[in-house]
Symmetry: C2
Subunit: 349 residues, 2 copies
Amino acid sequence: MEVRIALTGFGSVGKGVAEILLEQGIEYTETYGVDLVLTGIADRGGAVANPSGVELEEALRVKAAHGTVAASSRGKPGLAGNDFLREAQSQVLIEAASTNFEDAEPGWSYLRAAFANHMDVVLASKGALVLHFADVMKAAEERGARVLFSGAVGAPLPVLELADRMLVGAGITGFEGIVNATANQILSTMSAGASYEEGVARAQRDGIAETDPTLDVDGWDAAAKAVIIANAVLGGSLRLPDVAREGVRGVTRADLDDARSQGQSIKLIARAVQTGSGLRAEVKPERRPLADVLGRLRGSEMGIVYHTTRLGTVAATVAGTGGLSTALTVLRDVINLARERGWTQTPGR
Amino acid sequence: MEVRIALTGFGSVGKGVAEILLEQGIEYTETYGVDLVLTGIADRGGAVANPSGVELEEALRVKAAHGTVAASSRGKPGLAGNDFLREAQSQVLIEAASTNFEDAEPGWSYLRAAFANHMDVVLASKGALVLHFADVMKAAEERGARVLFSGAVGAPLPVLELADRMLVGAGITGFEGIVNATANQILSTMSAGASYEEGVARAQRDGIAETDPTLDVDGWDAAAKAVIIANAVLGGSLRLPDVAREGVRGVTRADLDDARSQGQSIKLIARAVQTGSGLRAEVKPERRPLADVLGRLRGSEMGIVYHTTRLGTVAATVAGTGGLSTALTVLRDVINLARERGWTQTPGR
């Protein structure tokens, strides 16, 4: 059946969603029995909405040319918030605005408006989850809404699905992971002989690091993901300041050379574990054996390891993902949501 | 809510299911909102059935003492098939009898009887899936029944969930995996200096190899799993003879030493790939770099790697699993089935 989606945020993730639906929307329909229709797109300049489907090619073209979808033929400068959601008439909100760790806006307001409108939400932005995790879950529960956020925690790594679908009954006691591709890329480049500055420059050239790489290199992004994963999977109520955080700025070429001479690599590890006195979370550079499930990951590869009481350690890794991987992860959440809601024509296996 | 389960086969997997429900059944109820009740257990000698729940402690004790649950106070020698399912009055069948590649019995008959009774099925046995994959799926679809079989393809590795829940939209083109723990254990033991015979003996002592290790060492088990995964994930219609199969009997200590001297290991790899002329599947020992996602796996560790067009390679590995891992995987399928059916009190995230 038709699943109408409103999209807030039209940066790389949001545009990726539109591009994928334009190019392979028919594939989703054929494979999963859902017709995914973007009925609204909002960005900082305004929005465009059409309950029968926004003209995606135009939206992408106008965004590239004018910086905002509000410049579309049906676009409205300044359209936002509840007014936007009402015009889009969708069942699902994809929130993909820039992550904001100060006040979680505009994501947090969009989330509450979506719940008030009985919509389900798929999140790519992390702000609301990091600052208001319990409130987000409570608000969703009160409205019978669902919230999925695989795109916010190391996409396309199947972090949350692994815990939710596969580790049923396993007794998860903690996790550790390489959840920030930029930091791993920088350490890999340095490990091959480059300086820290060259590592950062290369990650920027490859399009995986922002112009200001602070969030990545100082471990903020990894710490935010650790907070979200710990709260979602381990039932925690962590906040960003609860994570002991050390980034990769302090790692030197000498450190990396010394590690390699001992068959090791240095990785930025995000971790949370249940301890006698509650959840302990940290992000810090660590030495790992080269044949370790995380130690072996190079470049923009990522990995997550869950420790369980009954299934030992269960890990997932990804390598060689393309530029649309976060957008694909967001759409994966939409499909899994549609299955849970019974919106797919054929029941998922 | 209550989910009533009939269990056919009371070997290590079946007994494991009963033990887990006995010890941590309450945990499933609290965590997932389902009260899992075994209302019938059948083995070769007969069965015991009780719609309000079989006395599990007694069933395990009687099985150990007399070799069949039919010796229970409510047990009935010879009770089987449709009569058993009718007495058990369950919504779900867990089929965990010994795998039979000759005629898939008794699993195949139990499956058809379950579908006829509008039951869903969770399979741990492989026979029916290997010999009659398309028929199983067709029979289930005709009755609106669901069939889950994670326990049949390298449990507790999340082989099918990874493909189904996480690689949505990714475009899976093939997979390769270490899906037989016994063969991997034998190669690891040999790699540490033991003979093939010592490797087999140690796997038997560790309880992971059967008295007759033929199915494991000659690659039959891995080939069966390759058939099931290829058919389920890649839409194939393979049968066992379609898999080019070579086991580990031919691998020598010299081969392993030579590989190690080059920073490699030898692993029994199961693989299927889409080619221009259809699906090609094989099981054979291969050299892999020690830092490769599969090459690094030792002992009874297992792993699966999916190759995709849009998300690169996505892998999952497990290490250090306990003896109940297949039973836990079967119950994971039951929980995920209950979620799909809406039997859980709180909707799964």
